[in-house]
Amino acid sequence: MSAPSTTNYLLLYRSPPWNPSPEEAQAAYGWWKAWMQKFSKEIINATDARGEAIGNLNPASKCVVYKAGAVTDGPYAEGKEVMAGFSFVAVDSLEQAIEIAKECPINKAPGASVEIRPLRRY
């Protein structure tokens, strides 16, 4: 068992609103499953007390920003993008994080993107 890397990455998914048929949704389940299994060592799944995955954002929910004592609506991504979800990955380099992001099924949605942010532990 190798020592866990000290640099982790946050992948943030954005995509246009997605309204699949049940058949399309099941196909997507297959892709996500395959991606998570392929990178099972690298993708850190945050789970709650019930053992259920955390990381799905609710695109229909209201998003607010608290700044300088005030709560405002937003932020609105350009066009029709919504924040779809996030994952943590434990790899040693940005290149490796990019390789994982490239294969993420979110990319199948036209106009989707993955933001890759390095994290540091202090």
Partner: protein, 422 residues
């Protein structure tokens, strides 16, 4: 490395069938007048499942989906109540909040609810074309685009039919009215007809995609089996309908050749007929013979059985088939049944006998525009040696034929016509 797959493959069409089960249970719980909300809730649950389940499948996936879907409905209802400033709803009729009853999602209750929704879809106030669309959307879990593709309609037309159907249901169903299944039993003939239509869409369809057509046939069989397993639907007619479906399904693979061309019965390789499905057809045919009633499905199943049991085309009992078409024509009069009877009689007693039957028929306008009318006349004249008449009818049939596969078949026939000497 985990030894057990935490997120195993789901059965084929699981999401689509689960959609149908969710909508059934939710509409039973929250009312049929809320059908669209129930559909949205089921959709929400499936979307949540896509990412959530990919790392780990819940122990009870069905109950997990139901909980998410139910919470969606309750959220919407709560928001509506806040907006309308309603006081507490009529006591007892209000759906209890929050509590997830895993038991509520027990298999047998879900089956009941699915059947109830099937009967609700057969509401007499819903026009037949809207009924079919509603059943495909709510029970089979097809999306609007998928229905449009399968029924050769525009997405707009499908939307309109869905809206029409849902509006009819809102008018006939009072809030929180969940009619018990046995009070809907008199709709059984309409339910049969709707299932027959779904099967036909798969079997007779001009749809080029074989898998799509097969899927529609499978859906019809699935729902009809559910019907047959429940007291409200366990009738001889349901068994006859199942027999008919199994006999047709048995021949499904043999109907096209290697390049997707259509083969007539005479040309089909009978070794490709699925003997297990023929046997299931025979089992249901036997069950359908209980009692005194003889429906159109009995006649059609009997005809299909004759074909499936004949070892070769030449050994087909055409006299029996002709007799059954005569019965069918009496039970459910239609020029199409007369047409098919003429074909059977031609096989049995020669082409002139078949032509005589057709001469007694005054074809309505729609039949004259149906390619099989001219194709049949063309074929029978071809067999009597009247090449000129045959060519005329086959040429017109070629113009009217809806698909390339059927056109090719007719061209082959045309090519074998005796050319008149000039």
């Amino acid at each position: 490395m985990p030894t057990a797959d935490p997120a195993p493959e789901l059965p084929e069409h699981y999401f689509r069938h689960e959609f149908g089960r969710l909508v059934s249970v939710l509409s039973a719980r929250f009312g049929v007048h809320r059908l669209e909300l129930c559909e949205d809730a089921a959709q929400t649950a499936l979307l949540r499942a896509v990412q959530s389940w990919s790392s780990r499948l819940p122990d009870e996936p069905g109950a997990w989906l139901y909980r998410v879907a139910q919470n969606h409905v309750l959220d919407v209802l709560r928001r509506e109540r806040r907006v309308e400033r309603h006081a507490a709803e009529v006591g007892g009729a209000e759906p209890s909040e929050g509590q997830v009853t895993e038991d509520a999602y027990m298999q047998s209750e879900v089956q009941d609810d699915v059947l109830r929704l099937l009967f609700v879809c057969a509401d007499p106030s819903i026009p037949p074309e809207s009924q079919l669309v509603l059943a495909l959307k709510t029970l089979c879990g097809f999306a609007v685009e998928e229905i449009a593709l399968r029924l050769f309609q525009s997405e707009e037309a499908v939307h309109k039919r869905l809206q029409r159907a849902r509006a009819c249901l809102r008018e006939t169903h009072v809030e929180f009215d969940t009619p018990p299944l046995d009070t809907l039993a008199d709709r059984l003939p309409r339910v049969h007809h709707a299932l027959y239509l779904v099967f036909n869409e798969g079997y007779s369809s001009a749809q080029p995609d074989r898998l799509i057509r097969r899927e529609l046939c499978d859906e019809a069989v699935r729902l009809t089996l559910l019907l047959a397993a429940h007291p409200v639907g366990a009738t001889p007619e349901t068994d006859a309908l199942l027999a008919l479906m199994f006999f047709h399904a048995a021949r499904f693979d043999a109907r096209v050749d290697g390049t997707g061309g259509l083969l007539v019965l005479e040309e089909q390789d009978r070794s490709l007929w699925d003997r297990r499905l023929v046997q299931r057809g025979l089992d249901h045919l036997r069950l359908s013979a209980r009692g005194e009633r003889f429906s159109r499905y009995h006649a059609e199943a009997g005809i299909a059985a004759e074909h499936c049991l004949a070892p070769t085309f030449a050994q087909t009992r055409w006299d029996e088939i002709a007799r059954l078409y005569e019965v069918l024509d009496r039970i459910a009069p239609s020029p199409l049944h007369t047409l098919n009877r003429a074909i059977a009689i031609a096989e049995w007693q020669g082409p002139r006998a078949g032509l005589e039957v057709l001469e007694t028929l005054a074809p309505p306008q729609w039949l004259l525009g149906y390619y099989l009318w001219d194709a049949t006349l063309g074929e029978l004249h071809r067999r009597t040696g009247d090449g000129e008449r045959a060519a005329r009818h086959l040429t017109r049939a070629l113009e009217l034929a809806p698909t390339l596969a059927e056109k090719d078949l007719l061209r082959r026939r045309l090519a074998t016509c005796p050319v008149p000497r000039t």
